[in-house]
Symmetry: none
Amino acid sequence: MNTTEQLPPRQGEVLKLITSLTEQQGYPPTLAELAQAMGLRNRMTVHQHVAALKKKGLVQWEPGLNRSLRVIGGQSSEPISINSKRQSKPASVTPITKGLPMAGTIAAGNPIDALETDEYLEVESRYAGSGCFALKVKGESMIEEGIFDGDFVIVKPNPSPTNGEIVVAVLDDDTATLKRFYKEKGRYRLQPANKDMEPIYVPSTQEMNIKGVVVGLFRKMS
Amino acid sequence: MNTTEQLPPRQGEVLKLITSLTEQQGYPPTLAELAQAMGLRNRMTVHQHVAALKKKGLVQWEPGLNRSLRVIGGQSSEPISINSKRQSKPASVTPITKGLPMAGTIAAGNPIDALETDEYLEVESRYAGSGCFALKVKGESMIEEGIFDGDFVIVKPNPSPTNGEIVVAVLDDDTATLKRFYKEKGRYRLQPANKDMEPIYVPSTQEMNIKGVVVGLFRKMS
DNA sequence: TTTGGATCCATACGTAAGTATAGTACCAAG
DNA sequence: CTTGGTACTATACTTACGTATGGATCCAAA
């Protein structure tokens, strides 16, 4: 289900046309242009074809925006199960997006020009290649580390953290928690960054179920 | 007239924005999107800028077609040379990534599994469409807002913030600062979130140079 | 002084283009 | 036979979005 050879004929033809017309024109085609290229009389047929392709995860567009139709790398997204055995990922298209332009450093005293830069801040494209996933934080157990309720932490799968790293740990009762990890004599310590909260101790004799290490944080601020 | 540095400032900025937005979105921007990215209020200004660029042979579009604007010649990050031979190759349109898979909420007490999810955390792809840029924070003026030294703030161009929004302001001495913005009687107040620091006041009679509003924060944590 | 370019603003109009709704026909699988 | 998918048709509505027209200010060059 990943190749155009296994799509219905007209869907495969639409997919190829989107790609080729986009390359030729430098901008995506409209439904009318696709219809014309296929010898159809109205846009609705094409709309139905692209809707079917969208359901299959092969194209995407911004609803309501003109000429926003584009082919997605061809991979449909797969659910990620932390508790299950990790599968080897199929090859995915490497994102070409450059991320957000870096405008410099603020409070450093130098003027800002938002566009005089070759540097870019990349977030999902930085982490997406290594199986990272995101979690939304609930609660204030790590508030003194600047991890607030509502923030998103980016987690890199790693079952063997080093001391002092902030980890996602799954406890005996299957609840997940975000804490700083320490391996001590005879036990593991999961340390909150909130002076009103106590650490969690897990005996060394128990299997410590660490899902990963926090590698980044994102916060929406408006 | 060899490089974009020798275009008038705004024309050079438009040219770069067309390229970067096209790459990031996968389709060319509209005049309105360009206007927003530049902090302008209406499309006509941008139209005039692109018209000037078109006269200089740097961009082209199909008259009357929506979203057909493209840069002529050159690679996205390369300086554009007017005097050299160039191909009329439009900027290429790229597939997009979906961002980081969301694994749920941590500390909510429920197991993390459940990744039958269609949700993705998008950062640069969320913001890239509106001309946002990133700044690296230096100092601790907003530390009580959870904005730490070394963090990256994501800034959306907006010359007219509302009270209480965290803004990037350029002061008289051309230094940039990150503060919470308040318009008061007879003056503007730029409020730090650090009890050891004083607010900055700017008289209303002075032009308040706001580059934009902080819409997001990113922190590398390992 | 005049002219042209750069840069910003506004409103109004008309077309481009997506979407909604409705219909038909054919084929394969259950 | 029923159902779902594929594939085609039409009209109508709505929003997106480019363009026209008009205005202003500032600056540099002739």
